[in-house]
């Protein structure tokens, strides 16, 4: 009985603490376009990433490791393993190699959303492209349609999922921009890891807010989209491409 009482007491205390901590935060965030988790994702926001290739280190995969850990991925590199983000080494004609992370580009005109027969692949109001795994039938048409090879199909039964990141056999998945963190006013795991590593090559923010750091940087530097010719208006932009 005392174990239950202790646990109950702890949970109430945690909730109270969270409330006290969040309350002023919610007010401040309202001003800065943040939101409470119970509210719907707003359509005024468009979340995006800016990748600074000048700072991305060849041979570093901190973002990949962080993504695997955050989302419960196996970390395996077999071609049947899910990879939501990967480092691409790009060699030019002179042999110079630059490195960049490639993940779901969260296009404004996503081909994967167009081809999904059940509407499981969809774009949320704040621009994040997601797979509703309750509706996904595993036809893999979206994997065929993605120009960036961002989608993975789960080939085996999955166990030990993270409670915030449900994933299972037979469905298709891809980078969610850590939507479970964004909805709780945190930043994606890859961005956090890159900063912890000291590279600071990833910047996350609201593309629709001209005062946000990401918008100001995109306005100042030349930030381009991968396969810009496809006119998909991606939310992930690359500086130094």
């Amino acid at each position: 009985m005392s174990v239950h009482h202790g646990r109950r007491k702890f949970l109430w205390e945690a909730a109270a603490l969270a409330g006290v901590v969040l309350a002023p935060g919610i007010t401040l965030y309202d001003l800065a376009q943040g939101r409470a988790p119970e509210a719907a994702a707003p359509g005024t926001v468009r979340w995006g990433l800016l990748v600074d290739m000048n700072r991305c280190a060849t041979g570093c995969d901190a973002c990949v490791t962080a993504c695997d850990k955050e989302n419960g991925l196996s970390g395996g590199k077999a071609v049947t393993d899910a990879q939501w983000i990967r480092k691409i080494d790009r060699r030019d004609a002179r042999g110079l190699v630059r490195s960049l992370p490639m993940m779901c580009q969260h296009c404004a005109e996503p081909p994967c959303v167009d081809v999904c027969p059940t509407g499981a692949s969809f774009k949320r109001a704040d621009g994040i492209v997601l797979v509703d795994k309750h509706t996904c039938i595993g036809c893999r048409y979206c994997v065929m349609a993605c120009p960036y090879g961002a989608r993975s199909f789960v080939h085996e039964p999955v166990t030990n999922q993270k409670p915030d990141v449900p994933r299972g056999k037979g469905c298709v998945e891809s980078c969610t921009l850590c939507v479970h963190r964004i909805d709780r006013d945190r930043i994606p795991a890859c961005v956090e890891a890159c900063a912890t590593e000291g590279h600071n090559a990833l910047l996350f923010g609201d593309l629709n807010d001209p005062r946000s750091e990401i918008s100001q940087r995109i306005a100042a530097v030349t930030a381009t989209q991968v396969r810009a010719d496809l006119n998909l208006d991606t939310a992930v932009r690359y500086q130094g491409l």
């Binding site: 071609v79 990967r86 081909p111 167009d114 039938i137 048409y141 349609a145 120009p147 080939h155 037979g170």
Partner: protein, 395 residues
Amino acid sequence: MLSAASLPTARRFWAVFAIAALVVLAGLYAAHVMETRGHIVTGMNNRIVWGLPHVFAIFLIVAASGVLNVASVGSVFRQAAYKPHAPLSGLLCLALLAGGLAVLMLDLGRPERIIVAATHYNFTSVFAWNMFLYSGMAAIVAVYLWALMEPRRAAWSRPAGIAAFAWRIILTSGTGSIFAFLVARQAFGTAVLIPLFLAMSLGWGLAVFLVAQSALYRWNGLTLPVEIRRRMQNLLALFVVAVLFFVLIYHVTNGYFAKQSAFERFILRDGGIYPQLFWWGYVVAGSLVPLFLIWRPTSAAPRVGLAAPWLVIGGAFALLYVFIIGGQAYPQDLFPGFAISSSFADGVVQAYAPSAPEWALGVSGVGIAFLIALVGARVLDFLPDEESAAPQGAD
């Protein structure tokens, strides 16, 4: 119907039925293993997501729409010699459609969610449209068959035939647009795929019809007049040429664009199994040899065997394998002008080897079609009787 009931025929029917049923059961078991253990048991992976089952399924579905052409030539284009063959053509259409759709649905990552696919629709997706196109095709063909076989409704056969003809043009265009609408891979994303699929459906459908008709006639003691066979084979030759034409302009146009030429070199010269299958499997064995067999000048009475239709069918599988799997094997060009590499098979050709479950599932689609055609021809009047198998007077 049969003119004479004989025990050997009944025994042969049950023997053939049993073999086909075993083939189907093997495929169903393979689908069960894929569903419980996941697609890891197959040769498919995150780069090649549509494997051998899709090759079989697309062949069956494209042939299903084309096999109805024989009936259309009779009802829509009013060629009287083809009219007695229309019911069999309709039966084969339903059979092939059922086989192809079964393979597609069993290959899904979550086949138990078919009901979700039937209740949630995103109408920018060709797959969603296909749910209606395929079920509508089955309904229209059923009505068409009824009009053909019910003497009191004979007047409906022409309108039903026209409706079936129009519907299957839309359906095959839909099948082609599955690939035509994909911008992500260099093999796809071109409008010429739609008329290519239409031509393929005509050719492969007729080839399947010739093979199926010949087998069913032989087993049921009927003979098809040589003249009809020759006419159909000539038509097959025309369709083979049409497919060759569209394949040619597809590759020539692709090869003309500098950004596509590396892909063309892969498919046509450097890609290992893909050029082999394309040139030897499709072009030579699947197109040129059948054309030679059908068109060669013969001094004696023309011998029209089944070699040509069988070769066309083999060539069809080769072409689809190169198109679907070769198209996925070639890496996506994320940074034109650069060479890329990663942990996710970027920049490299992805290897693929079909596994036993995929073979079993794909072949079971053929088995399902075969069973439906076999039982249907046995139980109902799809085959013409002796008198109407021969043409009435001049065509």
